[in-house]
Amino acid sequence: MSSAHLIQTLLEQTRQIINQVESLKYETPATLTWKTNEQSWNILECLEHLNLYGKYYLPQMEHRIKMATAPWEPEFKSGILGNYFAQSMLPKEKLNKMKTFKDKNPINVPLNHSVIETFLEQQLQLINLLNDSRKVSLNKVRIPTSISSLLRLKLGDTFQFYINHIIRHLHQIERIKASMN
């Protein structure tokens, strides 16, 4: 895949993500904290979960992009593992439940509207990183995953994985909203 095309696609996905979450700003606290049962997340918990990932990945990516010496390459080739991780994140027709790591689980933590602001700020950071990554290799720059610092994915795969993970939970938010009616 062309690297330029990948970045353009990811920017477009990020734009849609921001637009979707912008509209949550006007929801009432009752809607934002509503949940189907004790074990499931409400809308704010979904976003906080994403913020916790952002807090790990965004500074990691920023640091590695800044330190990178490998220059931009016109072609990006997904790694086998990176591609698998990124694809597995996408929501499927049939609900594919996943386990959450304990440190990324915000269940029953008191949250408010500021979670939405933080999320949107993180998206602007992400846009800046996507822009900055136009100077470096999406293949050779590698980002340690939050699972293990030994497991490192290509920058291009990390972007896809990270954004697909957001898309996954925005689907979940849509389901929560739909189940309220």
Partner: protein, 168 residues
């Protein structure tokens, strides 16, 4: 203008604060604003700097991307609920195949260069009062359509300064 709007086969509705374009994307479309208003801005170290506004019956374009086909730094965001007609670069290129349309396009670009010169003079004017008066006499409608805080940002002054100038 009417001929260009008629090229459009697509309409987009944006709620308040939603983005039509973000920094770094390629956007070669022309947007005709049917209703609502939009602003173009750049983010300079998380500081927004408004570059241009568009409201009802205006055209709004990420001109750099439109002309070069390259990524553009510009953000385009709806200030309130906005409906735009989308005209693609390809549709526009077909339109330009006719000679009188080309003449119209040259005229439009010439007008745009003059507008940009006025804007350059704005930016070089040191007195906030003069900056305000320049823009007010040039585009009085702007003050009807766009909230003060965005105009203040466009004029490079605080919202307080702008409201004081408006009263005086």
């Amino acid at each position: 203008m009417k001929e260009i709007i008629e090229l459009s086969e697509k309409t987009l509705t944006l709620e308040r604060n939603k983005y039509l374009k973000v920094k770094g994307s390629i956007d070669t479309n022309i947007y005709y604003i049917e209703s609502g208003s939009l602003r173009i801005f750049v983010l300079d170290a998380y500081e927004e700097q408004t570059i241009r506004f568009g409201y009802k019956e205006n055209i709004i374009v990420a001109l750099d991307s439109f002309l070069t086909g390259s990524p553009s730094e510009l953000y385009i965001q709806a200030i309130k609920k906005t409906v735009v007609r989308v005209i693609s670069r390809q549709q526009f290129n077909q339109f330009l195949e006719q000679e009188n349309n080309q003449r119209w396009w040259t005229k439009t670009l010439e007008g745009l260069v003059l507008q940009q010169m006025e804007r350059e003079k704005d930016l070089l004017t040191s007195s906030p009062k003069e900056r305000y008066e320049r823009v007010l006499s040039r585009s009085p409608q702007l003050f009807q359509e766009i909230p003060n805080r965005y105009i203040a940002n466009y004029l490079r002054m605080s919202a307080e300064t702008l409201s004081r100038l408006k009263k005086s």
